[in-house]
């Protein structure tokens, strides 16, 4: 195939942040009509590079060419005017605004709101993408998939010729990913260039025409179209992993495998689980404003030595469930027992002291206190407890010893123990959170989206830890995830949650995925 002309070209882009060289002379060509996938571990600099293109960051060095012309992109407006649209890793929709208002942002010069035009555009692009979005509803009430679609519609309406999608699939169901793939095919046929960032190798090969890998801020390599077409999955996987983690490919081979090249690896069933550690009976946990709660009585048990999964599309009551168990919300009815003790009326701290742990999905928002040091964040759930505090007095040495041990054990990449946690990457934060929750012999750990947004390696580490937690038969785990493969890999049983209702619990035996899928769809029918 003849080379299509370049839509954008990055030459020698460097960008540094205090203490970090996030992009180091990266050069990248994206051609018209292609989906170009960008891979790399957490903190590799993928988002930074794309933000340079979208006008969020100014590069320290390097030049950008759009359609062959050298350009300066000083602000997001410049990027939009050049036809570069970006759907950011973190949503740039305003939840309290309506769909229409979100579309209208930045769309008019004068006083008047171009409501009519926005409605027409919404209709046109909804038809193109084959979706339906109500213009008058508040964005906060849309599902994450719908929000993603809205962002794409908005980028298209702004006349984007280059569309950047930064981890768009992290919140989508397999079906959503398929839809997105269809849409992208449609768009590239019209000559759009798409840059697609993901952590899932499988997706990269399914969706991408070419794949580039960033490693520690530098371009490690690009796999061209011919190779992509000619190579088998196994070969391509080998190449990418070698680019991402040079020298570690052998060690990570198993990991890449479980990412879905040869079908999910299934947890081998343990013969018999121990006594029940966490029992929910007929609990109701109301949602916050505009959020789906656990609205129908839910009963579920986690036994010692067992991993129970909770499957479902995000926003179907997962967070109320997790927070209700952890004590961050009150259950309106029903009973929650921890190793036989009723904890429904107990505080968060009291439940922790009974051995309940909660790995939150909101790492930066509540998982850590961003300005506090790594060391303090590693003991923040034991404030006041020995050996770190004796009669309320801080034992600094004990804290540091413990923190240093965890940093080593979990390979937490931090410059020092005193570094503020907020300055670390998402993957590192998750390691801190997991390390903290798994120390001091927990009985039951609730994981909420434990590997969301994590790179292959960190994902493997976290999953490995979950497996090791229950191995001894002393503890149990409840894993809430939107990633079905993850659940199949980890769990003994999988409960399916839909619209705040427990649709059923499936034993993880061959064929379970069909049954789970059916339960999820069954919930959707209502």
């Amino acid at each position: 195939m003849g080379e299509a002309p370049a839509a954008v070209e990055l030459r020698g882009i460097s960008k540094s942040f205090p203490g970090v060289l996030a992009n180091d002379e990266v050069s990248l060509v994206v051609r018209r009509g292609e989906v170009h996938c960008l891979l790399g571990e957490n903190g590799a600099g993928k988002s930074t590079l794309m933000n340079v293109l979208a006008g969020v960051h100014r590069p320290d060095e390097g030049e950008i060419r759009v359609a062959g012309r050298r350009v300066t992109i000083g602000c997001p407006r410049d990027a939009i005017d050049l036809g570069i649209g970006m759907v950011h890793q973190h949503s740039s929709l305003i939840a309290v605004f309506t769909v229409l208002e979100n579309l209208l942002l930045g769309r008019g010069e004068g006083l008047r709101l171009k409501t009519g035009e926005a409605l027409a555009a919404l209709e046109e692009f909804s038809a193109l993408l084959g979706v339906a979005v109500d213009p008058w509803v508040q964005v906060g009430r849309l599902s994450l998939g719908e929000q993603q679609q809205l962002e794409i519609i908005r980028a298209l309406w702004r006349g984007s010729r280059v569309l950047i999608l930064d981890e768009p699939t992290s919140m989508l169901t397999p079906k959503g990913v398929e839809d997105l793939q269809r849409v992208l095919a449609q768009l590239t046929r019209q000559g759009l260039a798409v840059i697609f960032i993901t952590h899932k190798l499988r997706e990269a090969f399914d969706i991408g025409d070419r794949v580039s890998v960033l490693r520690r801020g530098r371009l490690a390599g690009t796999i061209d179209e011919a190779t992509m077409r000619g190579g088998t999955f196994a070969e391509l996987k080998q190449m990418v992993v070698e680019l991402m983690f040079p020298g570690e490919a052998a060690r990570l081979a198993r990991v890449a495998e479980i990412r879905g090249f040869e079908g999910p690896a299934r947890r081998s069933r343990r013969p018999a689980a121990g006594p029940p550690l966490l029992e929910l009976s007929d609990v109701l946990i109301p949602g916050a404003r505009g959020e789906v709660g656990i609205d129908e009585p839910l009963s579920l048990a986690v036994h010692a030595g067992e991993v129970v999964g909770v499957a479902g599309v995000d926003g179907n009551g997962q967070r109320p469930l997790a927070e209700g168990i952890a004590g961050q919300r009150r259950a309106a009815a029903g009973d929650i027992r921890l190793a036989g003790t009723t904890v429904r009326a107990l505080s968060i701290g009291a439940r922790q002291r009974l051995g309940l742990r909660y790995v939150t999905d909101d790492r930066l928002g509540e998982g850590v206190a961003p300005p506090l040091s790594v060391a303090l964040n590693l003991v923040s759930k034991r404030i006041g407890a020995p050996p770190f505090w004796v009669h309320g007095r801080t034992k600094k040495a004990a804290i540091e010893r413990h923190a240093r041990a965890l940093v080593e054990e979990y390979d937490i990449m931090t410059p020092t123990l005193d570094t503020p946690a907020g300055s670390l990457s998402g993957g590192t934060l998750q390691k801190i959170v997991v390390a903290r929750e798994l120390s001091f012999s927990p009985k039951v750990v609730v994981f909420n989206k434990p590997t969301h947004g994590l790179d292959v390696k960190t994902t493997a580490m976290v999953r490995d830890r979950i497996g090791r937690l229950v191995e001894g038969g002393e503890a149990g785990a409840l894993v809430i995830s939107t990633d079905l493969e993850e659940l199949l890999e980890l769990c003994d049983r999988v409960a399916v949650l839909s619209r705040g209702r427990l649709m059923g619990v499936v034993e993880n035996v061959p064929g379970a995925e069909q049954e789970i899928g059916a339960l999820m769809i069954g919930g959707g029918d209502e």
Partner: protein, 311 residues
């Protein structure tokens, strides 16, 4: 007590409420604008005070209350410029800068006043009132509500204007976006700092006008520290109004009633200590907060400086 409900009492009360409420209305409308845009102006009082000073001095020189009002607006803008430079452009802490503004303006106006007038306090003539035809003839409410200086009607018109801009126009949409999620606005290609700059300047102009009104219409004289906490009351009104100009107007009027009722009560022969009367509006709001126990929904990015690409 029988005279408490006489028409004179009511007329005095309403008229006093409008007079005392108008500066609150201007300032609180202004604060509403910047709060919706994500800037908390703790220095509002400073803007009012400088407006009062500038308005008074110019009105004193020129003998024209209108030029005085213009000067008050300019004075408010000047102070707001500090807020723009330090908070919007440099991204510094809004509360610290607000307090700095207040302290500096208090000191500066007091100093300037002393340098110009020593310890004398020259007075301005009364500002002419404008009677709205027909309406002003309605008994009791007529003269008090529709026989006010023209600037009061401008204030009422501004309520409608601010409401319209906030809810029906592009700048209003952008302003609210700057208050709720500035990064989203920026990514949509709108310059957040520019939106916030304009918002803060509008606040300065309105607060300056409110202060000018206090000096030119209400007092007819400039006294150091004369705003006496009105700026803070305006902030409270704006926060309770949650970005809805009509509620801001109602709040300003209610606080106006409370502030003026001491004099009206005295007119009616009832002697309530001023301390009690001046406490009442705050007590009422606190009681309301306790009873309804409502969260105040403030824009989520309020008081957070915006720096593109920072996380």
């Amino acid at each position: 007590m029988s005279s408490l409900l006489t028409s004179e009492f009511l007329a005095a009360l309403l008229s006093g409420a409008v007079i005392a409420g108008a500066p609150l209305l201007f300032a609180a409308l202004g604060e509403t604008v910047s709060e919706q845009g994500g800037v908390l102006n703790i220095g509002l009082e400073g803007m009012m005070l400088f407006g009062a000073y500038g308005g008074f001095v110019v009105a004193h020189w020129t003998g024209s209350s209108w030029i005085g009002f213009l000067a008050a607006i300019v004075a408010g803008l000047l102070v707001a410029l500090l807020m723009v430079v330090f908070c919007v452009r440099m991204g510094r802490d809004q509360i610290v800068v607000g307090i700095a503004i207040l302290l500096a303006v208090e000191g500066l106006t007091s100093l300037l006043h002393a340098a110009q007038f020593g310890t004398s306090y020259p007075r301005l003539g009364a500002v002419p009132t404008v009677r709205v035809p027909w309406l002003a003839d309605v008994p009791v409410v007529g003269p008090s509500l529709f026989g006010q200086p023209a600037i009061v009607y401008i204030g009422i018109a501004l309520v409608v204007v601010v409401w319209w801009v906030l809810s029906r126009t592009n700048p209003g949409l952008h302003l609210r976006a700057a208050g709720w999620k500035p990064a989203a606005l920026d990514n949509a290609g709108v310059d957040v700092l520019r939106v916030r700059t304009v918002a803060v300047l509008v606040t300065g102009a309105l607060a300056g006008l409110g202060g000018g009104y206090m000096a030119i219409v209400v007092a007819g004289v400039f006294v150091p520290f004369m705003t006496g906490g009105m700026g803070f009351i305006a902030i409270v009104i704006a926060m309770l109004g949650r970005g809805r100009p009509l509620w801001v107007a109602v709040g300003a009027f209610l606080f106006g009633i409370a502030l003026s009722s001491a004099t009206s009560l005295q007119l009616a022969g009832v002697n309530v200590p001023t301390d009690v009367v001046q406490m009442l509006p705050f007590v009422t709001v606190i009681l309301a907060l306790i009873i309804f126990a409502r969260q105040s929904y403030l824009p989520s990015a309020l008081a957070t400086p915006y720096v593109r690409g920072r996380r």
